[in-house]
Symmetry: D2
């Protein structure tokens, strides 16, 4: 299971990209994968192939509407159980509140 953040930006278009992000978010939701939208990207959890198919679909959807697209993907792949999308944040917050 990987946790993956991606961000897709069209060049040669408007300053606002929220309509593109919205289109991608619909694709992510349709996939059924755990996900979270942040101010800097979309985070998805799943197998490499599940996640990369979603990233590909989102990238191609934006690419169809613009002649140049920049996509950034960061993957954190660690052995262990699913549910790291929320567990990672909890693990840090526990350490901050109880440093002993």
């Amino acid at each position: 299971m990987i946790v993956c953040e991606f961000s897709i930006v069209p060049l040669g278009k408007d300053v606002s990209v929220s309509s593109y992000v919205a289109e991608c978010l619909k694709i992510v939701r349709k996939s059924g994968l755990s996900h979270e939208l942040t101010a800097m990207g979309t985070i998805v959890e799943g197998t490499w192939d599940e996640v990369m198919q979603v990233v590909r679909d989102c990238h191609m959807a934006v690419r169809q509407r613009s002649p140049r697209v920049l996509t950034t993907v960061r993957v954190d792949d660690r052995e262990g159980p699913q549910g790291r999308l929320s567990a990672k944040v909890r693990s840090v917050e526990t350490k901050v509140s109880d440093p002993a």
Copy 2:
């Protein structure tokens, strides 16, 4: 005002990096800047100099404890009012729920 996501990783250390992230989160909180911890990084909002000082402090704190550190920073700098940390996500969610 910029919105900035950063992620700091020590090499040559344990597989778990949450104690390093926790240390960074304390530095971020002390700065007083708006911020959010996600599964893939920490997002901060402020001026370039405010934010980069925090990133530098976090990087150096991790670097003191490890011989090699990889830091990734993504900046979104757009003219306009503060509060984009939450406004960016709201803008997308509005478009998804009301596509017309």
Copy 3:
């Protein structure tokens, strides 16, 4: 055709990662795709599917040797002819030497 830079880092291992990068470079070379090794990553040119298959193979090769792997991928997808791996740099250098 996309130009793609990727960087793969194992956690919980040695400070030096050059043996992992070397293993990935062999995989890239076997693919036959245009590529370039830089101080911060490997740049590959090809179709999305060609390139992402190589990134996947490299990621999995490193993952087999370490319990946690962080992979960063940046894609520049632009309509037009192949050969952007070198053309992009030339385009900038021409502008710098001849600003008129």
Copy 4:
């Protein structure tokens, strides 16, 4: 000493960004720091403060010409001698040609 790759992209502008990259390259050259232009970014070597001043200057130069700018920065900070900009690539190439 850090090795740092950065990439600066204006939104709401033309599809081609090479004139912005050229402007940044001039700023990098003026700094006197070791650097290399690749198809996906500019790599610079120096102290954190030296490098981040250059990244800031480049970011601000692009920001002056466009209402929204996305900047990506990746830092590799490792104890040891200067000259890693070329030494990192050599280290991998040696391992690939002589795997024994």
